[in-house]
């Protein structure tokens, strides 16, 4: 989005991508163009705020998952250690079995 000055006049353009190329689209000039530009700016601000809120939310959920995963991983470690210490073994991360006594 931009204004282009030609002589005493300012012309308002919008830029959009068409088939990977940026295409400028003439919107207008004068008061109508000013109103359109203000509306476009408000839309951009809203979009940026929504994106920021989304990023914040995702970051909070990632933090939550990290705490949940950490708890699960610690429990898993204690489980595995307890079972191996009690004489069990796990074959290729599969089922747990009682270890056969040597000899």
């Amino acid at each position: 989005m931009s204004y282009e000055a030609r002589g005493p006049y300012h012309y308002y353009y919008r830029a959009r991508k068409v088939g990977g190329r940026v295409v400028k689209e003439y919107v207008g000039h004068g008061p109508a163009a000013v109103a359109m530009a203000a509306q476009d700016e408000a839309t951009r601000v809203d979009r940026r705020a929504a994106a920021e809120a989304r990023r914040t939310r995702q970051s909070q959920l990632n933090d939550l998952d990290r705490v949940t995963d950490a708890a699960g991983a610690s429990i898993e470690t204690l489980l595995n250690a307890s079972l191996v210490a009690a004489g069990y073994h796990r074959h290729h991360r599969g089922e747990w079995r009682r270890r056969q006594p040597d000899g």
Binding site: T68, A70, V84
Partner: protein, 175 residues
């Protein structure tokens, strides 16, 4: 929300030693098994710490699910306790209790992942946000199923008594 410092309550060195010894101990290496038992016997507080970490996860999940709604918080906490009780069954060992905690956390984690995805859908999601939430739901499903499977395995094995000291009391970790 959840801060990274909330993870600092577990004896990371002991957990790291257990994880380092586990592959060899699992293959029957007697020195590694002895080392494993030494770490477990020498760090009895680990059970409490891991339990606390689970409770931290629960609190964070409840906060996320209920927000500032006290009634919702109470209802979710009661449901969470019911899931935990059902999973633990009668006379659970310390290990079964810990695994029942993990089942409860898994259950709530899945409910929260599905709930936040649903909220995002109601707001309207873009492709990347949609993928983010789908990944979280899938991960939560795996977490929950793994927790149920681990508890079922321990029950099926009928693990004989393994005693550890928790809070200066000797208790049976498994049957």
């Amino acid at each position: 929300m959840v801060k990274a410092k909330a993870l600092a309550t577990v004896d990371d060195a002991a957990v790291a030693r257990l994880n380092a010894l586990l592959p060899a101990a699992n293959l029957g290496d007697q020195a590694a098994i002895t080392g494993l038992r030494a770490v477990l016997d020498g760090t009895p507080a680990l059970w409490d710490q891991v339990g606390d970490l689970g409770r931290q996860a629960e609190l964070a999940l409840v906060r996320t699910a209920a927000g500032s709604n006290a009634v919702a918080k109470e209802a979710i906490t009661r449901r969470l306790d019911a899931v935990r009780r059902d999973a633990a069954g009668l006379n659970p060992t310390a290990l079964e209790r810990l695994l029942a905690d993990r089942v409860a956390i898994g259950w709530l984690s899945l409910a929260v992942a599905e709930g936040t995805y649903h909220q995002a859908l109601e707001r309207g999601v873009g492709a990347s946000d949609d993928e983010f939430h789908q990944r979280r739901v899938e991960r939560a499903q795996r977490r929950y199923l793994a927790a149920i499977k681990a508890l079922a395995q321990v029950r099926r094995l009928g693990v004989p008594a393994l005693q550890v000291n928790i809070g200066e009391k000797q208790i049976n970790v498994a049957r």
